[in-house]
Amino acid sequence: MSYRPEGLRTLDDAEQGTPPPAAPTGIGVRGWLRWAWRQLTSMRVALLLLMLLALAALPGAFFPQTPQDAGAVARYRADQPELAAWLDRLGLFDVYASPWFAAIYLLLFVSLIGCILPRTRTHLAALRAAPSRVPRRLTRFPVHATHETDASPEEVTAAVRSALGRRFRVALTPDGVSAERGYLRETGNIVFHLSLVGVLIALGLGQVLSYRGQAVVVEDRSFANALVDYDTFTSGSLVDEDRLDPFVLTLQEMTSEFTVDAQARDFAAHVAITDPDGEVREDVIRVNYPLDVAGANIYLAGNGFAPHLTVRDAEGEVAFSQPVPFLPEDDFYTSRGVVKVPDVSPGLEQLGFTGYLLPTAVVDEVGARSVHPQPNAPLVILDVYTGDLGLDDGVPQNVYELDTTGLTQLTDDDGEVKILLEPGQEVELPDGLGTISFDSLPRFAALDVRYDPSLTLLLVSALLAMAGLSASLFVPRRRLWVKVTPGEGGRTVVEAAALARGDDPGLEKDLEHVMTAVRATGPTAQEDK
């Protein structure tokens, strides 16, 4: 315990002065509420809640979380169904949206507000009030000094004032000089805690005001910011999905750079944007460098190839002709894709293709594989299915998956039929089903569009919290008193002491600075340090 002289009240006392009361008896409901409130806003409970929060946040790092990786959760459920059932019951697959996690952080924030508001009031009062009164015996403080000088009390007081400078707030009282510095420390502390509330509010607003969607856009094609053009779309409850800012994006070119050993070096989506007001501009979206369009950010989340395939049916009619995005599965862009051809001539069976695109294909006795992500020797390898694609059932289908329940795979004497296509090639399908051709190889960009108006508040709150934190940790809070009394023989006796909040190695330096100025006013008669 640090030494505390009588009559000195600090914020520490205010904090520590109320010992945690034992559970009271016979005080009625209001009394109980007051007691509970005092408990909740005590530092002890805040500490407990902080530790609980840390503990509660941990499971999310070790169990897969539905919002982050729904696929991993599904795998976990399949692998360990019994454990998964329990985890489900406890909400451990979505920790950060679970009621118990919310309970902890909401209690913590109530506790924070309940603690910080009274402190703000106290601090505001302290800012207006004069510095504390001078204690009776300054020599009782661990950091103190005395001096006798020939100078008059007025001269000494003036010297002390000028030595204290502008950092200290100074009050001249009948008992002596009282000075304080470091109000910024508590200001910082309060700003930090209130900013955390700002962070929480910003995150909450983000939940209801933001939307996010993904879209795959092929070169030379456009994407309009409307619900129908998104592959996936999620939005907060206050977002009007029918009134998104109507901009149009056209992917002019998607470029990529790789080292010879297939390390990615650069991706860039060159786009033309038509703003809601009709203005057209060109820009580039890179990884890490999103594009701001009408308040929404567009991110380059992925890229790949979308071979343009054309299928003609048995009657020679074009049944399908468009670029098909193949999703990359490894560093060499071995990409998987699906072609569904529903629009064959009446009376004919529907066609389905599934297979791979190899950008730089090497075919040898082991099989076919890609050795580089750039399209140096593209090859498309497809399995062929006929039958019912199931598109007319009204059940939404994943465009990247082929549901083979109503389909039959084509086979010949060697087993499954494999169709190999290089760019510009056209191949006859077996059984006179028609032809398929590989016309060109455009690239696609997978774009993430996100609109979140709460980000500014979040950033400002976070930066304020940071500034407040540094003030509350590193601004020293010091009090300094100087008593100037006339002594024997016309001499003047100077007593001074300094007190800091907590451990403060710079405290003696402050006092020494003042005493140097005092000594400069006259010759030393007697020194007692």
């Binding site: 520590q16 946040a57 999310g60 790092a61 995150l203 990884v287 460098y289 976070a462 451990d503």
Partner: protein, 318 residues
């Protein structure tokens, strides 16, 4: 480029050799302190240890800088580089504080883990110096990650101080208990801070007790650990905010509860609890030290376990 990479690795090996000598010398110094107490002949072993540590830090720094030139970017873009940088910060912090305070007793506790981490880096985590992938090619890589290495390095030295504090405190309590009857008889008012044992009592004090006599008081160790933790906590806060800003640029969300983000958040909360614990009645420096140490344990888990075993989008780098 490749030659520079080799030079960097060589410098790291050199630093490890120097640290190994320093570690042994620090150990010799500690055991001599135990036998001799604080007053005694000059601490020759400690002098050797400090010289070799300085040499090690210089070589270490050369290793980090040449690695950066070899890769043509800042040298903290994968786990190997991150490890050699934060260990450099830890060893460097240890050296720099010596300018104000004699912390040589802490040497073994700082240099031994540094050496272990470096060993892990060169044997398990090492990869050739290479350019940077697009996902990391951003100025926040320079800011966010360097501040993270600084925070971890300083947390590490603070944790070492907390361990010494706990050892010392145990010794102090033992002494206080032994002295209590005497104090009571004298009607004395001896505070807990004045616990310097008389020389005659040394014989039955045990290894740690006697070693503890040559250390600063636990209260002073606690204050020093607190100051380092406060600095590191501020840096960690900055890491968190900078990370959120970068995540907003890269992934389109400032916060997504990725395992790495969870870990960083939990570490932040635990150190926040540490800071509150110091200001809470009924919580003394000892309990706060335990909180600080668990915070640092979580830093290590967040780095090694989460990076290597958890399914994280931070995985490609750290």
């Amino acid at each position: 480029m490749n030659d520079l990479g080799q030079l960097s690795l060589l410098a790291i090996y050199g630093a490890m050799a120097a640290y190994a000598v320093a570690m042994i010398a620090f150990g010799v110094d500690l055991s001599a302190l135990r036998d001799r107490g604080p007053e005694g002949r000059p601490r020759r072993a400690a002098a050797i240890a400090m010289t070799t540590t300085t040499l090690g830090v210089v070589l270490h720094a050369v290793g980090v800088v040449t690695r950066g030139f070899a890769a043509g970017r800042v040298p903290w873009a994968n786990m190997y580089e991150f490890t050699i940088v934060f260990t450099l910060v830890a060893a460097g912090t240890f050296l720099v504080i010596q300018r104000w305070r004699d912390l040589r007793y802490l040497g073994a506790l700082v240099i031994t883990p540094t050496l272990l981490a470096l060993g892990l880096a060169v044997s398990v985590l090492y990869i050739e110096a290479d350019g940077v992938r697009p996902a990391l090619d951003h100025y926040w890589l320079v800011i966010h990650v360097s501040v993270a290495t600084m925070a971890i390095g300083i947390f590490a030295v603070a944790a070492a101080l907390s361990i010494v504090q706990l050892v010392k405190e145990r010794g102090e309590r033992a002494v206080a208990q032994r002295r209590e009857p005497a104090v009571a008889l004298a009607g004395g008012s001896g505070g807990a801070a004045e616990v310097d044992a008389a020389p005659g009592e040394n014989a039955d004090r045990g290894f740690w007790g006697r070693l503890g006599d040559s250390l600063p008081s636990s209260a002073e160790l606690e204050r020093l650990a607190y100051r380092l933790n406060a600095v590191a906590f501020l840096l960690w806060t900055f890491t968190l905010i900078a990370g959120a800003i970068w995540a907003e640029h890269a992934w389109g969300r400032p916060w997504g509860w990725d395992p790495k983000e969870v870990g960083t958040f939990v570490v932040w909360v635990v150190y926040a609890a540490y800071l509150h614990a110091r200001a809470t009645r009924g919580w003394d420096g000892r309990k706060a030290a335990y909180l600080g140490l668990s915070g640092f344990a979580l830093v290590l888990v967040n780095y090694f376990v989460v990076n290597l075993f958890a399914d994280t989008i931070h995985g490609y780098a750290f």
